[in-house]
Symmetry: D2
Subunit: 357 residues, 4 copies
């Protein structure tokens, strides 16, 4: 059985590069040879043991690659085609998919729900920080990369851009909206770009790391508030003449930012939450206007599927948004432990890394 | 200056019937002679001092009456016409109204927002537990009562029915949905009726007072869960074969019900909240699926305005819903202190009272 | 190779019962033994040669049956299970499905679009007026019938009810709406029922056949206008005091009804069209308010997929709507030519027939 | 009674500059001294007698000016304030306004509907091609111009930009959409800008006048199709690899463009129509997929009201869109007949004119 290299979760604190068999494919799957992938904040949670996965699992959910082999029932693709797949891989045939809620495919069971319903790569099946990955339900998930786009140009599509943009979409941003985006990590930056793309005319980013503040401006923010220098709630009220924002986006996953997102929201506004929270959240009575503010709070899990990927690559191809500046460091797959070390500790101004087998 | 009787807030603990001048009207207002009104749970909060209003204010926001006099600029009505007005009286000309968020008219100021933005009757201006009430912005708010409908038939429209139905509307209930409604007081009962009216096919009401449980069944519930006999979250999961509900409605305003509303919600579902909360709320991490469940939480303040009232009276006129059984007790305005005594302590199985000057 | 009986399109004017092999199944399909099916108006168009299909095709797209055999890759079902499948059978994995437009699966090609994109049974593959039918993409399409529901209770779900209800859904009917439904054949009757189910409070059905007028009242119409006795546009304007309707539903597919549907619509209203038109349509300038009326015209093709079917069966199981009275005649599969004769000529007050192998 | 100069409709073929009294204001109105206005295509229809208005009416519906005097009941403004008002001036208190359909305010009567319901300026009341204009329902309609914006920067907001953008909004354009815009006159150009602002990534403009084709590229089009050189339907199918467009915008008001808009639309897509049609329209059977394509056709009348104007001026202030290049010619009010001559005959590459008293 041929072998490949893969980044494997051994135990909390240890993800190591090791060999494992190249996976077999069933009738509906596809084997993709990875050409570029990256590390996500969630992978770091796995590394730290904060998010539990099975020992021996290959990590990673952001694949760019080339079709190596197609399952016997897969039609509409050819071997050798350059493709990406989303971090979330909907089957297409679940009840969730059939009512348009593709991300929550498989989330429900008789015994309750699991978070991250439709997330399979590097969570419930082997992921793509490896030489090869098996893409399940290939016909729903493989998205051909348009000619002329490089691996790094599309590397943010599977997760970062899909998630970031979805916050603007779930916030139903309209032309002329004022929007606040809390935190400008890679996903927050894409939320800022998404808000701009949907027609918000006043985008206020909240951040304190100078390089991220600078990137926020470059990618679409009109104002950047350094929360270490001013209370962001007061500052946003000031910037909006007391009107508050139409949509606020939480892109960190902390009580403080969730709370601030609510406090800056005008009555009738929407809090679009991307954060992965690690404990109970508190809704402050005043920010919530005692439940009488016609507020909407909406959470969104990264949309996946080939059509989503096609649309995001269109955004890139049209030149509307360029996510290449988010890739600040590059590693070979052989160096992936080093890459985790850098990315996990947010060293050297890292935003995202590119990892190439 | 002619005088009238009115229920006046004197100080926490005291609402008394007293005399005050019949109000003057400006160019845009209308003087309405009250023929029937009622007491709301919010009025009891005012009585107890839990919701602060100015001393000397006339209480009440659910008017049924007859136009006595029209402001000089008011067109499209005639004196002697039977009318109702909503509890919330939008001006029509605010920025909030012009973007379709009529309930939040006037909510925003440079110094933050106040809850209950568009609520004026018995809050920021004199209310309708009196012989006369001045209706502001009459052209936006006076809704003629169709011939053949009695005062008691339309008495729930200004607040109870508008609020209750709005939870179903904000939940965007669809044909075939499963819906849970937590608490079956007057507003919860109207939420149940609204869910039924919008096509939910499995409506689970949660309540423990036998008369309210019975009324829930009568007005539209398919199942009634007595939360004193079974854990409602487990019971609802059981009733839905573990699938959870598409929409859950919180109609009480408590941490327990808010939390249960979230825990029974399927991924991708909507929590539609009507409750007026009196403290911070806690979002349980598991119920919220760590922020990854594609959930929507939406709060709604009673929609007002004449067109809303016209539509609700159409519901009554068509026979689709009959809210008369909610009126369990009747009082003269002279007996209003007695009415507060009964209603405030929820004595004698009271749901709503009718008060007639 | 075992044989079965099937209603086969031979040539325009001839659908005959004949023998053909029981189909083989691939990995994703399922073989269903038909227990009850029916004939649709579209089948009559096929019979007459007005809608072209391949010679030798088995006709029929409304299956109720029992799983006989499952494809090797099909999970989540068991042989012997009672199921239905929708008339439209989305794959789940097309771009159309992945953006929530399941009915249009497969509609697009480089050479233009074909109407009835996702319609396969009895159109592009063998249908279900036979002893057995092969259901493609079984995991997306097989919906188990809840215990206690008879074949005839769920027989309208695959097409008639799904299509009829979809017009109310596409019209976005709201509580308190006034709705006109043009034509009360089986689909129009289900549109009337759907409008009622979504909270319309004044439903005006237009029809002239007494039995259908009577059925319209029984299934939800508040008013029935006989268009042979009064001009329906004038009559509807009269019934609505000149306000017009919020939503009008076209359920016939003719110029006259399309035009009338538009003329009765209030500014800002929606024309929800179900009709299958057989020629160009004319939009009258006045009815369209010269293109300035903030009107919406929306067409809808029968939604399919197992989740849609589950929801429709919930409507039946809850007792909200009973479509059994639509089945006016019953035939054995052996008598299907006779059934076409009766149904095709609308003899004997027929609404729908039940056909049992 | 003080007099002012005004452009008055005398009879078909004649709009002349003459004197008439400066209007009196009622309690709810405001007198605005015009500083800049413009001529609309609709005004040319009035001039030619194609759209009937009363003789003696002042024409024009795109005011930029300064508050001269406020009605006695008007609050929240001060004299001397720079303002604009939308072409459509909703009252705020009609049933249409109260259900969010502000443009259709006043459209309905017992005797049918009139097109252009909420359009009053230069239609049912005196317009703004004059030294002064009376703005009705001032509190709903006066929008203060932000400091730093010139008259010409905001001159397109009242009509051209509001209408053009509304086509993108009514089309519900999403990130990654492909959009076709038929005709690139001033409104079509703003439709193109609006599509870009909402995140369309492939915008195909159809036009043949070189200056307009150039402007289309500058304001947001990715492709410009010259319909005199290629069949636009075929060209758009080619550009989209046969997939068609998600949204097509009709910005001319002709049968050919309406029909082409439909033919390029993918199943499930939306035709957003801005055109003012002058005769019946024909829907081609094939383009309409026989009524089975899940298509939406939506018409939109220019949204008005102060909040809409505020948002559009935010778009200008943020630098997202610059409409100044649309103003190609400038005239004094004294020269308005000359301006009509030039604009009416589309001479000298005119797009829009600025007229200053």
């Amino acid at each position: 059985m041929p072998k490949m290299k893969a980044a494997i979760f051994v135990e909390p604190g240890r993800i190591v590069l090791d060999e494992k068999p190249i996976p077999d494919i069933g009738p509906l799957g596809a084997l993709v040879r990875i050409t570029t992938t990256t590390i996500c904040g969630t992978d770091v949670h796995i590394l730290k043991g904060e998010y539990p996965v099975a020992r021996g699992l290959t990590i990673g959910h952001e694949p760019v690659g080339v079709i190596e082999k197609l399952g016997s029932a897969v039609q509409g693709y050819r071997e050798g085609q350059r493709v990406i797949a989303g971090a979330i891989t909907p089957s297409g045939h679940s009840a969730a998919c059939l009512c348009g809620c593709h991300s929550q495919d498989g989330a429900g069971t008789k015994h309750g729900w699991k978070p991250l319903g439709g997330w399979r790569f590097g969570n419930t099946i082997d992921g793509c920080q490896a030489e090869y990955v098996l893409v399940p339900d290939a016909m729903a998930n493989l998205a051909p990369v348009p000619d002329g786009l490089s691996d790094e140009q599309v590397l943010m599509c599977p997760d970062i851009m899909s998630t970031g943009f979805s916050s603007a979409e779930s916030g139903r941003i309209r032309i002329g909206d004022t929007v606040a985006v809390f935190a400008q990590g890679p996903i927050g930056l894409c939320a800022t770009a998404g808000a701009r793309l949907m027609g918000a005319t006043s985008i206020i980013a909240v951040e304190s790391v100078p390089a991220r503040m600078e990137m926020a401006r470059r990618i679409g923010a009109d104002h950047v508030v350094d929360f270490t220098e001013a209370d962001p709630v007061e500052e946003i009220r000031r910037l909006t003449d007391g009107r508050g924002v139409d949509v606020s986006i939480e892109a960190l996953g902390r009580q403080e930012t969730f709370e601030a997102s609510l406090r800056v929201l005008r009555p009738g506004g929407t809090l679009s939450s991307l954060g992965v929270y690690s404990g109970d959240l508190r809704i402050p009575l005043d920010g919530f206007l005692a439940g009488l503010g016609d507020h909407t709070i909406r959470t969104t899990l990264c949309p996946g599927g080939k059509e989503r990927m096609r649309r995001l690559m269109e955004v890139i191809a049209s030149g509307r948004v360029d996510t290449r500046p988010l890739v600040t460091h590059r590693f070979k797959l052989d160096q992936i432990e080093e890459a985790y070390e850098l990315f996990g500790h947010q060293r050297d101004g890292v935003l995202k890394v590119a990892v190439t087998p």
